[in-house]
Amino acid sequence: MPAVSKGDGMRGLAVFISDIRNCKSKEAEIKRINKELANIRSKFKGDKALDGYSKKKYVCKLLFIFLLGHDIDFGHMEAVNLLSSNKYTEKQIGYLFISVLVNSNSELIRLINNAIKNDLSSRNPTFMCLALHCIANVGSREMAEAFAGEIPRILVAGDTMDSVKQSAALCLLRLYKTSPDLVLMGEWTSRVVHLLNDQHMGVVTAAISLITCLSQKNPDEFKTCVSLAVSRLSRIVSSASTDLQDYTYYFVPAPWLSCKLLRLLQCYPPPEDGAVKGRLVECLETILNKAQEPPKSKKVQHSNAKNAILFEAIALIIHYDSEPNLLVRACNQLGQFLQHRETNLRYLALESMCTLASSEFSHEAVKTHIETVINALKTERDVSVRQRAADLLYAMCDRSNAKQIVAEMLSYLETADYSIREEMVLKVAILAEKYAVDYSWYVDTILNLIRIAGDYVSEEVWYRVIQIVINRDDVQGYAAKTVFEALQAPACHENMVKVGGYILGEFGNLIAGDPRSSPLVQFNLLHSKFHLCSVPTRALLLSAYIKFINLFPETKTTIQEVLRCDSQIRNSDVELQQRAVEYLKLSSIASTDVLATVLEEMPPFPERESSILAKLKKKKGPGAVSNELEEGKREGGELNGAGERPGDSSAIGASNASTPSPSADLLGLRSAAPVSAAPPSAGSLLVDVFSEAGPAAPAASVNDDGFLRDLEPPTESSDSLLAEGSGDSDSAPPSVVSEDPAPPLPESDELLNKFVCKNNGVLFENQLLQIGIKSEYRQNLGRMYLFYGNKTSVQFVSFTTTVSCPGELQSHLNVQLKPVDPLVEGGAQVQQVINIECITDFSEAPILNIKFRYGGALQNLSLKLPVTINKFFQPTEMASNDFFQRWKQLSQPQQEAQKIFKANHAMDTEVIKAKLLGLGTALLDKVDPNPENFVCAGVIQTKSQQVGCLLRLEPNAQAQPGEQMYRLTLRSSKDTVSKRLCDLLAEQF
């Protein structure tokens, strides 16, 4: 037994711990523990009242036993009793026990809350801290209900001790995270923000965590924190290492606080105030400069703390994504770290560069490091670093380097760690498809992929290659030839056989002219693999064989023999047997015409987003896939065409319906949905096909069936393909319908009008969701921040947003969405950036579609994005003469638009002025001879041209309320602009 430490110790406890440690076996340990539990139980039950010390000791022993991994089902009451002890040491153990072990026994919580309440009002700072810790540790809803009102008061009260303030801030943060609805900010918002100015560094450090979290959820209310944070940061960055005394950590001034300040700033766009922004840029530059200075200490703690700040600064620079100069410096700094001898720094540099790669300003700079990154992939000893290198290669890939990167990734795959192979395969498949210039390269790459890492090639990957081959006739011959060659290998992966079977079945005719790959050779090659394959692959091969009979009548007898042999027609697997029987019958009964129709070449698949991407996302979790690859339409699985093809009335479709076999993936049983859609009489349709032998009638429906669904993914991956259709087969058909973006809400025009004269505010709100908007425009460019707030306590999943520009708008406006995390936690807010470029003037608004699942139900919502032509106004000041001269120049009838309309709001001159300024024009004073009238001028900046606009608004303010009218006149060099502005503005007054 070691010497007892200072302060209080519990001898009995130490003896017990010693005993446990001396136990030679697990059994002995359990025996000792049971003995102790029996002892404690009898003490607790005993008649004699226990003194505080004994109670404390036994509670502590119970805690120890629990932490060893044993269940504890008593002692809670004794622990709660300890809370009301006035001996600190007993109270402390009581609280520790509660913190570690409390369950949501409501009776107990009430007692605990009582004790906490007493301690909070005790005005003894040590007791208050204990109570606050307990609240933070348990953090249950009941506690939030009891204390969420009290803690803010403690936090901002003038006489609260610093240490209590620190605890109160973090305790409140904890409650806010559990129950944001119970923590009301309101009146104390500004006092909390001003904690950033507190003299005590510890208070600032604790408070800033709270402020950051609150700012993320309520950016507007907390935006004053930006300038405070910048000035605090600036003071720290410029301080000497000794200035901050104990808050200097290994010669680095306040690293924790610095990082948190930089993190807080990442909740906001760059400061609008020039002075604040200048100061911040200065800070960031100083931090970058310091990285180049020689270290003040050789200790790793020094460099870690210093680099922690540096990485956080770089994260802020990347977040702003607006200072090319800083971005390039950041990239160079990370480039240095890529070759640093510290593995940690190499790891982090690779990770940060991934985000830099998606910025237009630094993408090229990141690409210059390609050799270093490839080298890291090959030589790093640590698998987690190699994985980051692979991620970065993926992120920096574009058309210019795709071939090199894909080749490197492929060669790395041969030796890659098993843990990352599947992900690597997905990435290679995505890059190969995305950057394929010629599709023969794509086919080569995927076949190589199957050859090298066949086991890790998921269904999606080989579905995808088949789909692409089907859709592109220029590559079909090449694909057939290549896959034929690949199958020559004595041992080839089953996935290769699947691809081969499918492609030769469809396009084998394209290479059949060559005697070396004549139909029979092809068939024999495929059939040589047959016996080594699993049931699903064999089923696919059988389908390929029947297609062969259609393509090459000369193979008919050979194939029929194969189908007829016992191992097929009497196969114990019901699926294989059924296929053999049906195909054999089909080939012998049906006329060539029918056969040709039934087995017609596959129609092209509808073009949709790659399902591989969805798979990768699912694998990596949110945010893992680099931005440029995300186009928003995540849910669209490529190969689930069946959902849109209702026709099920075919021979093969019918066979599906009757075969609920485990090999379902091959015969289209993507859950039961398409099948259950087929009428129960599907079997009789089968007969119809043969009895009528009419080629035309069933053709259309026959096309759609079974073979297509050969490609259907098995059920376990169905949710990745159809992010929203997961599992529930009954609801599949309606959900297919509802996945199309909903039409815009009826009120969306009204919502749009709200934002004509302002750039920020709440765009939309319902019980579930709030959408806030902030936007800024310069010249013909705009940037919009959308804030999606989850108002519920349940997370939203599969949260996706898309923006579409209907019709002509596509060529008038360029709108780009940065991706948003598919998971929005309850009470959380996520931000999305939209970049907008005005190419030429436009009248419609882009449509924002939002989809997510809330408690399983799909929410589908469309709104008009408040981007209107006036956002691209540049105000133009001009004198009275100039104005009228120009007004006259724009005198052609189509250049003018005019509306006379009733006032909807009171005619308040200041309000009208504010609106006109908000419109973006210059409000010209003393131009109109009538001082009642308003005139404005501005130039609309588009990429293709500039459109000068003049505006005149004439109110008849003297009229009775209710009869007040405006006359609004717009003149511009372009008729569509005059008209649109007139329409927009007429709704504003």
Binding site: P2, R11, G12, Y88, R174, M201, D246, N344, G621
Partner: protein, 154 residues
């Protein structure tokens, strides 16, 4: 914020567990198992960071003990390493060249010290002096050695 902090020995024996979000016992056991197997399998001189599910794992070995924490996506890994280091320093200052046994026999102290330093997974106080002072102050409230020695052992 930090989601959890675990201290375990080279043999995989858990010495301290702190969870900053409520979790079921099953989840906890799963995390403990995953962390010990993952971290103990790491070769020497590899980096101190791992990805696990959606968390960043930061760990460091001090003598026979591994300190391992799980961070959320936006947390700073390097700084987390220094959080671990500062905690080791605090233990060291309190126990005087701390060793694994100190933490085994005085686990409650290790928790109290951690509580002074972190709360709800966020840093509460970084100053070594301030923390040492408040720990000392609470020790002053506890019994004297004589009182302790006169207590019965069972």
């Amino acid at each position: 914020m930090m989601r959890f902090l675990l201290l375990f020995s080279r043999q995989g024996k858990l010495r301290l567990q702190k969870w900053f979000l409520p979790m079921t016992e099953r989840e906890k056991k799963k995390i403990i198992r995953d962390m010990t197997t993952m971290v103990l399998a790491r070769k020497p001189r590899t980096c101190n960071f791992l990805h696990w599910r959606d968390l960043k794992i930061v760990y460091k070995r001090y003598a026979s003990l591994y300190f391992c924490c799980g961070l959320e996506d936006q947390d700073n890994e390097l700084l987390a390493l220094e959080v671990l280091h500062r905690y080791v320093e605090l233990l060291d200052k309190y126990f005087g060249s701390v060793c694994e046994l100190d933490i085994i026999f005085n686990f409650e102290k290790a928790y109290f010290i951690l509580d002074e330093f972190l709360m709800g997974g966020e840093i509460q106080e970084t100053s070594k002096q301030s923390i040492a002072k408040s720990i000392e102050a609470s020790d002053m409230l506890q019994e004297t050695m004589e009182e302790y020695m006169s207590k019965p052992a069972f």
